[in-house]
């Protein structure tokens, strides 16, 4: 039933949806891969998103990093926003500007509403934050004033998954980053669960050392 609706969506959509190989109810719509990044127009994006809205529970617009036209186009028709930041000065700074744009240049904002926002911190290293060598989650939340939806720990599993062309949530669902993404998803769906930072299982030796360092 669901897939027939999706197929209908696929047939109707003026653009080519690609069905994911692993997840039957996930479709991908690649944006312009041409050299001309301005091939996307505001009207075009609006009509595609409004069409997809009719057929899917969730339409996730991945925004290009940085603050360019692509990012403003991706956020324009959003109902809510997930802001993804590394615990680094340049990344947090860009996020602050994006938050400003979310509150000014989106449909929701122009209609007098307030864009619901969530903050996701990636590549987080608990140990380095503890020793004061990395901005802690609280610092980033404090600076950006956006509630946390998840913290993804820095992990080798992410590159490993990317190397074999899989999302980390599928390549190793018990890995810390996979757990973090799954938890964040549940929060996005409205579950009220506390934000944790999943960690690698440490050997006894590692634990002893960690204990002494703390």
């Amino acid at each position: 039933m669901i897939s027939s609706t999706l197929y209908a969506a696929k047939r109707r959509s003026s653009t080519a949806l690609v069905r994911d190989k692993k997840l039957h109810n996930l479709f991908l719509l690649p944006a312009s891969q041409t050299r001309d990044k301005d091939a996307l127009t505001e009207e075009g994006v609006a009509s595609v998103i409004n069409e997809l809205r009719m057929y899917f529970d969730w339409v996730i617009c991945d925004s290009p990093a940085g603050i360019e036209r692509g990012a403003t186009l991706a956020m324009r028709h959003a109902d809510e926003a997930i802001i993804v930041s590394n615990p680094e000065v340049s990344s947090v700074r860009d996020c602050d500007r994006i938050i400003g744009l979310l509150d000014a240049k989106t449909k929701v904002a122009e209609d007098g509403g307030r864009m619901p926002k969530h903050l996701m911190i990636t590549r987080y290293d608990t140990d380095r934050a503890k020793t004061g060598d990395m901005l802690a989650t609280d610092d980033v939340v404090d600076i950006l004033s956006v509630p946390l939806i998840g913290v993804v720990p820095e992990s080798k599993d992410v590159l490993k998954a990317s190397n074999v062309g899989l999302p980390v949530t599928l390549s190793d669902e018990n890995s810390p980053p996979a757990k973090a993404y799954m938890e964040a998803t549940r929060r996005l769906l409205g579950e009220n669960i506390p934000v944790t930072i999943p960690e690698e299982k440490k050997s006894l030796f590692g634990k002893l050392f960690k204990g002494r360092a703390a």
Binding site: R93, D96, G100, G132, I143, F209
Partner: protein, 86 residues
Amino acid sequence: MNILSLFGKRGESASVAKNRLQILLAHERADDGSDAVLISSLREDILAVVAKRVDIDPDSVRLEMDRSGDVTTLGIDIELPAAKAS
């Protein structure tokens, strides 16, 4: 990790990072406000000049300021009414 660092002093780069961010963002957030004021006054001035000669809708003047890197550009977009046969 160096074994000595286990007992050594705590790093302080994170608090430096937080400080830098707070200063930087305070500056940028203030900037955005003054840009908006500047744009709205420019818009009014341009509208007044054009309106002297052409009958235009006040909403048809759009200004956009774009800062990227070292360059700031000001885009002015004025929509004129369809030409009347004279």
